[in-house]
Symmetry: C2
DNA sequence: GTTTAAAGGAGAAAAATTATCTATAATCTT
DNA sequence: AAGATTATAGATAATTTTTCTCCTTTAAAC
């Protein structure tokens, strides 16, 4: 029994081949849209239903096994849940990368400024990556 | 000829009553989803088509007359374009507020760290507002 | 191996968004 | 101000995206 199998079961999800493949794809590609995921999944499971992708993505979201990343002007992408982090997105090539930034100061400022209890900070930095300048 | 009329024309948009109302609603409410906008618009224009809302929102987005704000777990909202700013969103009552935070330090750090030319920073702080604690 | 509860696939259905068409209204031209 | 020009609104169809239903298959438990 491999890694992902245990991870899925820990989240009350049966470890089906389709799910293991989804996890595998997300692990390999990092951030994937529904469409991109379906495209790679159909190669492994020629008869997989798009509904299966949606159902699993939604289930995994509910179980916080994965996270949705909303991007300006683009479709959402999904990734395996890991420590909170921010993202960069290249507007030319569309490449999305993780970036660890210390947002504590900002969050604290905001919290006191607005008397607001902050539980999550979603930051997307858009621009042009080094390969696209 | 009022304010909005001129603003719309400056963006190559004819100042129709429907558009003026959309601008007015966004000005009054701040951040609105497509549905919320349609709901208030139908009160003023009983026969307005949802397609008109979509067409105008998309046109105004193209002309950067308005901006889309993508929110975790919720539908996008739209607002009149103003100076770049961040948002807080209460997960209890759904209230969205503007907040001006100095992200320069963060942006610069990210830029040098990843050799990435940043043109835009979208930050949404989720949590619980003072009215909902 | 048998049981059972969950998941997959096919396709229908629903929801969201966009496109097409025509009458009308906003702006431009005189 | 009147007429010409062009973009827009609204009705509706079409398309796209997402969810649901139903039945079969399969993973997990015993
Ligand atoms: Mn990430
Ligand atoms: Mn705002
Ligand atoms: Zn790039
Ligand atoms: Zn609240």
């Amino acid at each position: 029994m491999n890694n992902y199998t245990q991870m899925l079961r820990n989240h009350n999800l049966k470890a089906t081949p389709q799910r293991l493949a989804i996890v595998d794809m997300l692990y390999m590609h990092g951030h994937m849209s529904i469409d991109a995921l379906y495209e790679v999944m159909i190669k492994r499971f020629s008869s997989i239903s798009l509904a299966t992708i949606y159902k699993n993505i939604n289930l995994m979201l509910e179980n916080t096994f994965i996270q949705e990343v909303k991007l300006p002007n683009f479709k959402s992408v999904y990734e395996l849940t890991k420590e909170s982090h921010s993202h960069t997105m290249c507007e030319k090539c569309g490449k999305i990368n993780d970036i660890n930034l210390d947002l504590d100061a900002i969050v604290n400022t905001a919290s006191t400024l607005k008397n607001f209890e902050i539980t999550k900070a979603d930051l997307v930095l858009s621009g042009v990556c080094k390969n696209c300048v």
